[in-house]
Structures are given as C-alpha cells and as structure tokens.
C-alpha cells in the first residue's frame, strides 16, 4: 500500500531527478520516493511551484495543507483518473432523490452510532458504569429509523455523540481530559484539541481514498453538498471516527503518551503542538495499518475505508444495499 508522507519541516518541496525532494532551511536535502506515495500532508511552512503540482498530478498524488494550528485548509486534488460518467450520474441521482438520500444519510449515522456503541460496550465490560450510555445509544439507533429528514438524522446523531463523549470521562483515566462540552472554534480543552485534529486527519485520509475510486467527493448525503467543497469524505468518516480516531485518543491518553509540551494555548484555544501532532500521527498511522479479517481477506483499517467506498458504489449502481462497516469488538 502506498504511503502518506507528513511534512513538518520548513523548506521547499521540489521535483528533482524525477522524484520529490524536500530542501530544508539548513540546505539539507531529503528525498521522498515518488513511486511509493499516495499523498502529502503539509504542516510546516513550505514553498512549491506549479511544476511540483504537475508532477504530483502525473503521479496521482493528493496534497493537503494544514495551518499553524493543525487545521485543515484545503487540498490539491489532481485531475481524477478514475472517471465514470455513469457513476457520477448515479451519485447525483441518490442525492437529488430525497428518499434515496435519506436512506444513505441514515446508514452513515447508523454506522457511526453502532461503532460508538462498540467502544462503549468494550469499556463497560472492563470498567463498568456505562449502561445508561449504552441504553441511550441503542435508543438512538431506533430513533434513527424513524427520522424523516436528513436534519433529524443529524440531530439524533448529534445527541448520541454528546452522550458518547460524556462516557469518555469513564473511558479515559486522566482527569486532564475531562469532558464538559464539545467546542470546536476554537477547541477549549485538550480533548477538543485531540478530537479536532484526529477528525481532520481522518477526513483527509478518506478524501485520499475517494480519489482512488469513481466517486465524486463533492456529493455527500448526510452532510449537505452545498456548503463545503468536499462532503462525501465527511459522511464516510463518521463511520470510522469511533474505531480509528477515538481509539487513538484512548491509547494516547490512557497510556500517558502526551505531556504538557504536546499542547499549546493560543488566542483562547487549546491546540496540539508540533510534538503532540507527531505523536498523534504515529499512533494514527499504526491504527490505519492494523489489520482485521474480513470476507476471507486480511484487511487494514485504511483498506476498510476503500472497501466502504466500493460498497457505496455498489449501492449507487443499485446492486447491493450499503451496510456500514461495524467493528466486531
């Protein structure tokens, strides 16, 4: 599987000798094997030119930019090479036909809920005290079936998530990560900082996988299409957040892998520092590579995301109804 490269260094990224080269401030050159990478995530102050973008495009590499606070800013999503007019039309049809859109919106929310539930059940069995959350999430799954609008689906999912985040106070052993209320702009607590960073990484991972399929990332179903450039990746990410991002957060916090220097406070917000981001990314990458067995195949979580997109494609062409991936444990 091709790799994602995370660039924190300051310098210039260039095409050099038919491969990629990062020339750091001190003049040190670091070559990146172009044939073995699928995306670049840029965190550091770097410069690059049109020639580099052309080179990335011809190698089918996506590039994603994050700002000083680790916020996702945008992507260079090269001319797609998996094109199917038929698939695009089907995707539009499932958006424009409200009944069809609602079915998919429910499925994504259902996947999200059921995976949240898996996490809560796992920690309930180990630590106890979460039966009310379990009940709440189970009820929410039922309510989901009755939701008549996409907004209702969103609302049910939002309330469930709120209850789920409260359970983090039991799951995470460290009082530093007490959950009160989810705040995004800006993140107010360390937990907010971890969630915001992790979720944006996942959005980008899913986007990079969408690039390798015939789907159009601009047409989402749960997340409305009109407001953001990309929205399908947000939909699919909902299913995987509990299994990938939240579990990385549980590991990082419960194993005390983050110290105060992993955070920075600026302009009334709490953010991960460069060190914190690197720690997070290491665990996140490990999680993406972790494999599970699925349908007689050995599949990494990263690959599971791709399979999820294939399942969605099959739903769109009317072959097989989409069922979100729900983890077994």
């Amino acid at each position: 599987m091709k790799k994602t490269i995370y660039i924190f260094s300051i310098g210039e990224i260039k095409r050099k000798g038919n491969t990629l080269c990062l020339i750091k401030e001190n003049g040190e050159k670091k070559y990146v094997p172009v044939s073995e990478i699928s995306s670049l995530m840029i965190f550091g102050e770097t410069t690059f030119n049109k020639r580099l973008l052309e080179f990335l495009s011809s190698n089918e590499i996506t590039l994603h930019i994050f700002n000083h606070y680790g916020y996702y800013m945008g992507s260079f999503y090269p001319k797609t090479h998996y094109n199917s007019g038929f698939m695009t039309l089907k995707q539009c049809e499932h958006y424009l036909d409200y009944a069809k859109r609602l079915i998919l919106a429910r499925k994504f929310a259902e996947g999200s809920l059921r995976n949240m539930l898996r996490n809560v059940i796992y920690y309930h069995n180990r630590k106890g005290g979460l039966s009310s959350t379990i009940k709440f999430l189970e009820d929410a799954s039922l309510k989901l079936r009755e939701a008549r609008t996409v907004e209702e689906v969103m609302a049910v999912e939002g309330q469930a998530k709120e209850q789920y985040y409260i359970s983090f106070n039991t799951i995470i052993d460290d009082a530093e990560y007490h959950y009160e209320k989810r705040e995004r702009m800006p993140p107010k607590s360390r937990l907010d900082a971890l969630l915001s960073f992790g979720n944006s990484l996942l959005y980008v991972t899913v986007l990079s996988e969408i690039y390798k399929t015939h789907l159009d990332p601009r047409i989402g179903f749960l997340h409305a299409t009109n407001y953001r450039k990309f929205s399908l990746n947000l939909d699919v990410a909902e299913v995987f957040k509990p299994i990938i991002v939240d579990r990385v957060i549980f590991t990082l916090t419960n194993k005390r892998m983050l110290d105060p220097s992993c955070y920075m406070e600026e302009l009334g917000g709490v953010y991960l520092s460069e060190k914190g981001r690197k720690n997070f990314i290491e665990q996140y990458e490990d999680k993406l590579k972790q494999t599970i067995s699925y349908e007689r195949m050995r599949v990494s979580y990263q690959r599971m995301i791709r399979l999820e997109l294939y399942k969605l494609e099959k739903h769109l062409i009317g072959e097989k109804e989409y069922e979100p991936f729900v983890t077994q444990w």
Binding site: M1, K2, Y82, N83, S84, G85, F86, M87, K212, H214, E295, R296, M297, R303, R306, L307, E308, Y310, K311, E313, K314, I317, G318, E319
Partner: protein, 173 residues
C-alpha cells in the same frame, strides 16, 4: 458514429479489445468496464502485469490505434496484427480479441493475418478471420452489447480468476 454498427455500445462508444477479452473471463467485468468502472490500478497483479508489459515488450511494441482498439504490433511485411500475451493461459480470449482487431481492420480494407505472440513460451499462434470465425465473433459482440445494456451488473461468481483480479475487493466487499 452510427449506433447500428456491430461493435457500438449503447453508450455510443465502440467495444474495446479488452472488453472482448474479458467476455471470455468474466461477464461481470464486461459490464463494469463498459460503464467505465475501471479496476483498482494499484492492485498488485494488475500492476505487475503492467510493469512486465512496459519492460519486456517495450522494444517489440509498435502500437497501432483505431477507435477503441490498440494493436500491440503490426508487421507490415507479413501484414500481420500481433497481440502479445504473457502466457497462453487464456488463449481463447486472446484469439477473439485478435479476431476483433482483424474484423475492425477489414473495415479499413486491411486484410491482415493475426498472430498471438507469447515471448515467455516462445510461441506464435496464427489466427485467421474466416467466414466461420466472423460469425462467432459477431455473436460475441452482440452478447457484449447485451451485457452492457443490462441495468445492473451480473452478480459476482467466485472463479479462480478472482484471486488475481483487480476487481476482487469491489466484487466481494
């Protein structure tokens, strides 16, 4: 392009050589390909095949393209269209792919012979488009058109080819 040609799909695109080849391997692939739902190119077996094609046959390749088809090599002196394959495993599929090329060439008044070249086995198999072969080919083309016209792809069937197929994950996810 006129729609009533024997090799025009309902999407008004011509049938490709690959499509004829896949007809003999997996009908589902024919449907997917005809809807431009192309397989995962990073899938290892497909990529290895491509690497081998690039490297070993590069010197031999002198591609000739017509709408929808790509002939690996055309030997002028012998008036022979050649298709290069890595093994003789799917020889029937290769034979019809080549017959289809000969059929298309005939439209341009090029009456050519066909050779399937298998360098790894040092084999050369001659293919001729006679009246009988043409009849069978026309039937195959027609069935390809029928498959492409289906509203949904034929359901996946597990065959030995699946193991190395680039659609494996798509079909079985």
């Amino acid at each position: 392009m006129q729609v009533d040609l024997p090799y025009t799909l309902c999407s008004s695109k011509p049938i490709t050589g690959t499509l004829v080849w896949y007809y003999f391997i997996c009908k589902r692939e024919v449907w997917l390909m005809s809807h431009e739902i192309t397989p995962d190119e990073d899938a290892s077996a497909l990529d290895i095949g491509r690497a081998i094609h690039e490297i070993f046959y590069r010197r031999m390749l002198k591609e000739v393209s017509l709408e929808g088809i790509k002939i690996d090599l055309f030997k002028r002196a012998e008036r022979a269209a050649c298709e290069i394959k890595a093994s003789s495993k799917f020889i029937e599929a290769a034979r019809f792919q080549l017959l289809y090329y000969l059929f298309r060439l005939k439209e341009y008044d090029v009456d050519a012979d066909g050779w399937i070249l298998i360098p790894t086995e040092k084999r050369k198999i001659s293919v001729k488009l006679d009246a009988e072969a043409e009849q069978v080919l026309l039937k195959v083309l027609n069935e390809i058109k029928e498959i492409a016209r289906l509203e949904r792809p034929p359901p996946p069937i597990r065959i030995p080819y699946c193991r190395r197929c680039a659609y494996k994950e798509f079909c079985w996810a």
